[in-house]
């Protein structure tokens, strides 16, 4: 290298000096670091996100929200670990579990199932929880067999099929009111969890059409051919699996043809892809000069009504935040391991669900009351990215959403509430499609 040679320093000298410096530095640092430190043990929880991390405005953000609320209420500290690729899952879980202060490690997402089992096996004195995971049903060599549960590992799963049925009913009834032939659904990767959404959504739409025909038979008969009532059952729901939970443009390309076919509302079951769906709706609004929908889209996981107020008719909320919050509480109260044992490693949160005798729900359709809580999520996203996310002030958002809801006939909201009541009481049973056979069976009936 010209620089070195011109100063007359031989290359050999450089190498020798470099090696000496490196050894000295490492030795010195080693001595400094290995001095024992005393620190007060804190109670920490670690939340390991799925790919996509923060800012997805649904799944991962909900988990962190729950962690933050736990921090506030239980005096714990949350550590966030973002997984950028699948290769990060196990290292993230391990690094969290190796921290002596961490008492609970949460893995957010179905894809972390196997790695959660591995980590739980490696750290038997730590508590692990997975959202949407199915750890009971995987086998990991040297750790456990299929069907076995580990004493320190809990799956928290949700009754997404019930919530999806509610929004499916909402969408279908809107379609009858506005004389539109279809509702739509944009899905992510075709995994078993999403089948619950898909079949629940279609079933809810079907229930709603039957309800409409039974309760308003004259109106139903008088519906024009463009109305969903006249669309054959198996064609009512336009849906596609985009194969991604992170590529927002795929949300756009999937939703566009649905709106062109006059779908009244498109259900987002692909996390951040809702933003792609929103782009289509925004373009239509601009083109037609609309202040509010139709067309609508339906949010998922978090309350997404605020993202484009007036155009998101409602959201199917999956309270991942409550899952993380409750798990923290159970660990703090020392009831975690008992729950794992009593519930066979899996707790279900949904509509009317209880855990250890206490009503512990996790699925609901968004209401105005939830809105403020979630507008805060948008505020946080703005801080994170430095870009504007909220379309207006929280008050403006609140007004737009309530205006939109009031503009829809009350019998639609009443019907959805009726369905929710019937689901809660058990009068109707929303099909839970968890295997390929289930899905095939229901697709044969509902499309």
């Amino acid at each position: 290298m010209k620089l070195l040679n011109s100063k007359g320093i031989a290359s050999t000298t450089v190498i020798i000096v470099a090696i000496i410096v490196i050894i000295a530095a490492v030795a010195g640092v080693y001595l400094v670091v290995m001095k024992p430190t005393t620190a007060a043990p804190a109670f920490k929880i670690a939340v390991v996100s799925d790919i996509g991390g923060r800012g997805d405005l649904s799944f991962n953000d909900m988990a962190f929200k729950g962690g933050e609320e736990a921090e506030r209420d239980f005096n714990v500290q949350m550590v966030e670990l973002i997984s950028q690729t699948e290769a990060d899952y196990l290292p993230n879980l391990r690094i969290a579990a190796s921290d002596p202060d961490v008492k609970l490690i949460v893995g957010v997402g179905y894809l972390l199932t196997t790695d959660l089992v591995k980590a739980a096996g490696e750290f038997p004195d730590k508590n692990f929880m997975g959202i949407d995971t199915y750890t009971k049903w995987v086998a990991v060599e040297g750790v456990k067999e299929i069907g076995e549960t580990l004493p320190n590992l809990l799956d928290i799963v949700y009754e997404e099929h019930k919530g999806s049925a509610l929004v499916g009913a909402l969408g279908a009834l809107l379609a009858t009111y506005y004389d539109k032939p279809y509702i739509g659904g944009v899905f992510g990767i075709e995994i078993a969890t999403l089948w619950k959404f898909e079949i629940g959504y279609k079933w809810g739409a079907d229930w709603a059409i039957s309800w409409y025909e039974n309760n308003h038979p004259d109106n139903a008969a008088a519906e024009p051919t463009t109305s969903i009532v006249k669309t054959p059952t198996k064609e009512r729901v336009l849906y596609t699996y985009t194969g991604t939970f992170s590529d927002i443009t795929k949300g756009y390309t999937a939703a566009l043809p649905m709106y062109e076919e006059n779908a009244i509302a498109v259900y987002n079951i692909a996390g951040p892809l809702g933003l792609g769906i929103n782009s289509v709706v925004r373009d239509i609004a601009r083109r037609d000069g609309l202040e509010q929908g139709p067309p609508f889209w339906i949010g998922v996981d978090a309350n997404q009504d605020w993202i484009n107020p007036g155009f998101v008719i409602a959201s199917m909320m999956k309270r991942v935040d409550r899952g993380v919050y409750n798990a923290t509480k159970w660990v703090k109260d020392n009831t975690f391991r008992n729950l794992v044992e009593n519930y066979g490693g899996q707790v279900t949160l949904g509509i009317g669900t209880t855990v250890a005798g206490t009503l512990t729900e996790g699925i609901s359709i968004s209401t105005l009351a939830d809105l403020d809580e979630f507008v805060q999520m948008g505020v946080k996203a703005e801080e994170l990215t430095g870009e504007p996310v909220l379309l207006g002030s929280p008050e403006w958002i609140s007004t737009k959403v309530s205006t939109m809801r009031d503009a829809q006939p009350s019998w639609i909201w009443d019907a959805v509430a009726e369905l929710e009541g019937k689901i809660r009481s058990g009068e109707v049973v929303v099909p839970l499609a968890s295997t390929a056979d289930d899905v095939a069976y229901w697709r044969n009936i509902l499309g």
């Binding site: 290298m1 640092v29 790919i51 670990l81 699948e86 290769a87 290292p91 190796s98 990767i189």
Partner: protein, 386 residues
């Protein structure tokens, strides 16, 4: 193998075994002599990179010393829990496997005077090839691993031959063709996975059968590291101990001389791409059948193989475009990348900082080459008014 008798004033040439030993020592001393400068350059560049990394950490309000201590955890040092040391060190070794291989892809290309930056796509193709053989075919133990590896290397080589052919017969610049083929592979492989090679789960390939897995040495490290190192050594021998390798290097060093000497330039370029493709294919395979951490599968998001091809370019540069240098550079980079997560966990230092430091190291190696060029250009400008 070319047999040459080296006359070296410092060694005695004796008959029989002594002659071999003398020749060996002569070769090693020869290598050490030529090694000194590039090693010095790389160490200096490493130093600059770490210095600027420390400056960046300070700018963002972090303590660089504690930050680097955290990073060193990636090599297995400074971790308090006794059981962790070995795991992380083996992790770093496992991480270095694909890096040393994709470094070969770029390095062998540079030696022949071409920019083979198609390692990214070649890795994807090799990975999916290994995933197919490993998950969907049933073969006896041992043979299964061999066939999966060999097929992955073959597919990687075939994917690399495409830009080679385009360059040789149509003069298409390999940068354009290899980047485009990277993108083609980027979309084609997930399609193959989701629609043809998926197993029980829709978003990844069928699990690699036990008969196709490399034996695990410890943590995330399997015997594939021996294959990788062997590949580096083989490439070294090919390039420095065979006529074809000599010709390849000549084409890169001095294309005119090569042409005058009657070297078949087309063949040299083709060989360079083939070697590069095979190495990249092996790198892809290593992540599917040779790395337990990644779950013995290839996900449709390509998350476990994404970026390896491009990281290899940096490793190659730090390894001075030499297959053996690449091994050491890969170990360094792997340790640093492995340590990134500790920096993030302990101090909230973004893991991207490690990539930034590595970028500076690469720049620090590139800049000195620029200096004489800049000097010449300045002199030229100074002369113009006369």
């Amino acid at each position: 193998m070319i047999t040459r008798i080296e006359r070296n004033a410092n060694t005695e040439i004796n008959a029989g075994e002594d002659e071999v030993v003398a020749r060996l020592f002569g070769t090693i001393r020869e290598h050490l002599r030529t090694l000194k400068r590039p090693l010095a350059d790389s160490l200096f560049a490493l130093f600059i990179g770490l210095l600027i990394g420390a400056a960046l950490m300070l700018v963002f309000g972090h303590n660089p010393i504690t930050g680097y201590i955290s990073m060193l955890k990636g090599f297995g040092l400074f971790i308090r829990e006794g059981s962790f040391n070995k795991t992380e060190f083996l992790e770093a070794l496992a991480y270095s496997v694909p890096l040393m291989l994709t470094a070969i892809t770029f390095a062998v290309g540079m030696r022949a005077g071409i920019f083979n930056i198609g390692a990214e796509g070649q890795v994807y193709m090799g990975a999916v090839a290994a995933a197919w053989i490993g998950g969907h075919l049933v073969l006896p133990t041992g043979i299964h691993v061999l066939v999966a590896t060999a097929f992955a290397m073959l597919v990687g080589a075939l994917w690399a031959i495409l830009p080679a052919i385009l360059k040789i017969f149509a003069g298409v610049h390999e940068v354009i063709s290899s980047i485009m083929l990277n993108w083609i592979a980027f979309f084609h492989v997930p399609y193959l996975i989701i629609h043809h090679f998926a197993g029980a789960y829709a978003e990844r390939t069928a699990a690699i059968l036990p008969t196709a897995r490399y034996p695990v040495i410890g943590a995330s490290l399997t015997a594939v590291i021996f294959v990788a190192i062997a590949a580096c050594v083989v490439v070294y021998f090919l390039l420095w101990r065979t006529r074809a390798g000599y010709e390849l290097r000549l084409v890169g060093d001095n294309p005119d001389a090569a042409r005058y000497a009657g070297v078949n330039i087309r063949r040299a370029i083709l060989i360079s791409f083939i070697i590069g493709g095979m190495a990249a294919g092996l790198a892809g395979a290593s992540q599917v059948i040779g790395r337990p951490l990644l779950g013995w599968t290839l996900p449709a998001t390509l998350g476990t193989v994404f970026g390896l091809g491009f990281s290899g370019i940096g490793v190659a540069v730090v390894g001075r475009n030499h297959p053996i240098g690449g091994i050491f550079a890969a170990l360094l980079f792997a340790g640093m990348l492995n340590g990134a997560k500790f920096m993030e966990y302990d101090f909230g230092i973004p893991s991207d900082l490690v990539v930034a430091i590595q970028g500076v190291i690469i720049l620090a190696l590139a800049v000195p080459t620029l200096l004489p060029m800049i000097r010449k250009w300045v002199k030229k400008i100074g002369r113009k008014p006369k």
